[in-house]
């Protein structure tokens, strides 16, 4: 079964609730069949953006195009968009079957087609023996599947999902995460997915739009966001643990070798915990620091350090033997692992 997704272009999207500006001009564009994640901290406007795309909320400014057609001013019914709501929004008085088929019933799809569509999504979501239950009689994960089934049964080319996994336990979350991703790839439908979990975003998406305070911080592939964060905010949001961002004065000579112009104290250095090492062998650059503690995480160990300027740094390593607290070490790192940002506005300098 194949189905073509829709492309989606959003330009200059603005929204204010009274005096508070929630979206301050957001742009992005994705191809049919792509998986886009809107990522950002709580309250940054992710749900608002999704609701505007769905037509549940009017935009103050900007345009939304689905498959090239401007849908900004047409009612949500006509946009042909499926949606999975943050807390499922299943109809409590209808059975699972009635929930799933509600849209087809409203749109007067012939009975035979309805039955076929139902058995298709019920198989896909493993809901076969739950069809007569009410949502109240289902576990959180099962409700999740029903909500997905309801959004997918109509085979709409664009499906929006608002933090659909936020109420599930870790194991179920990884399972359904993989299931959603597989559906997206198998059916070729376009998905816009909202989450504030950066690892979820990295693992599922073709594109990520990182939002902060209603503005787009960065738009790109997961690799782009991880390897070349556009701002200090992006660097600090992505990765577990996130990138270390410290003053340039900690390693002035390596900045010189990167032939960066300007004063070291006007720059910030970003370096991922995995790219730092405690080994004393050859390294392009060295940062003096003191060990303040460590956290054992099973597959790796996080070493907490403080630089000579008093800034906190985290290092992640496979080795499990730990130097003592208070030991002075010099952290090695290769030059190409360093990211540089302007201290004034936090934007990245061109990749050295």
């Amino acid at each position: 079964m194949t189905q073509r997704g829709a492309s989606l272009q959003v330009a200059g999207l603005k929204k204010a609730f009274g005096p508070t500006s929630v979206l301050k001009g957001v742009d992005f564009s994705i191809e049919p069949g792509m998986f886009l994640t809107l990522l950002g901290p709580s309250g940054c406007g992710k749900s608002t953006a999704l609701r505007i795309i769905a037509g549940l909320e009017p935009a103050d400014a900007g345009t939304i195009r689905v498959d090239g057609q401007d849908v900004t001013d047409i009612p949500s019914v006509q946009r042909n968009i499926g949606m999975v709501f943050q807390n499922y929004a299943l109809f409590p008085h209808m059975s699972v079957q009635q929930n799933i088929l509600y849209g087809l019933k409203v749109r007067r799809t012939p009975e035979a087609d309805r039955r076929r569509a139902l058995s298709r999504v019920a198989d896909m979501m493993g809901l076969g023996n739950l069809l007569d239950r009410r949502p109240g009689q289902l576990s959180g994960g099962q409700q999740q599947r029903v909500a997905l089934a309801r959004a997918l049964v109509s085979q709409r080319p664009l499906v929006l999902m608002d933090e659909p996994l936020s109420n599930l336990d870790a194991k179920l979350r990884t399972e359904i995460r993989a299931e959603i991703r597989e559906l997206n790839q198998r059916l070729g439908l376009t998905v816009v997915y909202v989450t504030h979990d950066q690892s979820e975003a990295l693992s599922m998406s073709d594109r990520i739009l990182l939002l902060n305070n209603g503005s787009a911080v960065q738009f790109g592939s997961p690799q782009d966001l991880f390897n070349t964060p556009a701002t200090v905010a992006a660097a600090r949001f992505i990765g577990t643990p996130p990138m270390n961002v410290i003053s340039g004065e900690n390693a002035p000579e390596s900045l010189g070798r990167l032939s960066v112009h300007g004063d070291a104290k006007d720059l910030l250095i970003g370096v991922r915990p995995e790219d730092l090492s405690l080994e004393t062998g050859a390294a392009d650059t060295r940062i003096e620091a003191e060990i303040t503690g460590w956290e054992y995480e099973g597959n790796n160990t996080l070493v907490k350090l403080r630089t000579s300027l008093g800034e906190a740094v985290t290092l992640s390593q496979k080795r499990q033997d730990m130097p003592e607290r208070g030991t002075r070490v010099s952290l090695g790192c290769s030059l190409h692992a360093l990211r540089l940002f302007r201290k004034t506005d936090g934007t990245a300098l061109d990749k050295p």
Binding site: V77, A89, Y102, R134
Partner: protein
Amino acid sequence: MNKPLGISRAIALLGVPLVLLITFTHYPLLQSVVSSFWSKGTKIRPSKFIGLDNYAKLFDDPVLAKVMWNSLIYAAVTIPVTVALSIAMALLVNSKLPGRALMRLSFFLPTMLPMIAVANLWLFVYVPGYGLIAQVMIWLGLPDINFLGSSETALWAMMVVAVWKEAGLFMIFYLAALQSIPQNLKEAAVLEGAGKARVFRDIVWPLLAPTTVFVAINAMLNAFRVIDHVVAMTNGGPNNASALLLFYIYQVAFGFRDFPYGATLTVLLAGILGLFAIVQFKLLDRRTHYQ
């Protein structure tokens, strides 16, 4: 925490409410049942045991037939009208219209007034010649109608008053129920292609069902229980056209002082109300619990 209560303390705790219930509810009801088996006593002929004669009398009492019919019409009309009106008002007041605080207040106001005051207010509205309606009718060049004085209109005029008074209260219940329906259920239905009417029919109305059952019980009880406005406005007339069951009981027992027959009618009323209660609790249990 879970230490069992001493038996004497348990009896004391159960005893107080039990005594009150027995004294003021069960005993009088039982007394009514007992006295319904006796005849009306006079100075010369003392009351004597007559078995089920009073109950046989129920079947060929033309006034009772009339009164039962009135009560039935009263219930059958006021209940759906009250439900419809209170939902409509709740929807209106729950929307984002300007001035809805004022609307809420004005819809709720009639409920706060005592029935007697409401009855007096409406007497002025209905009075022929110079009442509110009469003046409008005259101004429109229509014939003046004595709403409370003619047997075709008296019952209906009273139903209007009852609906006017009760709808505001039930609106509050519906308003609370409406506000507890998650917004995203309606949005989900809209995204699936449902229009406003469809959303109401498929989502809002079913989720209001528990409230509707509750409101229907209360409206039903009111239909058989409230007589203030009958007493104040028509006194059951003309020719029993606006008499309801409870009013008739009141008349028989305290007007004609036929306590045994009044007791028989009371047993009938208690039976009817008990039946409603059973039916509706069954409904509440079966139909309206989703969790």
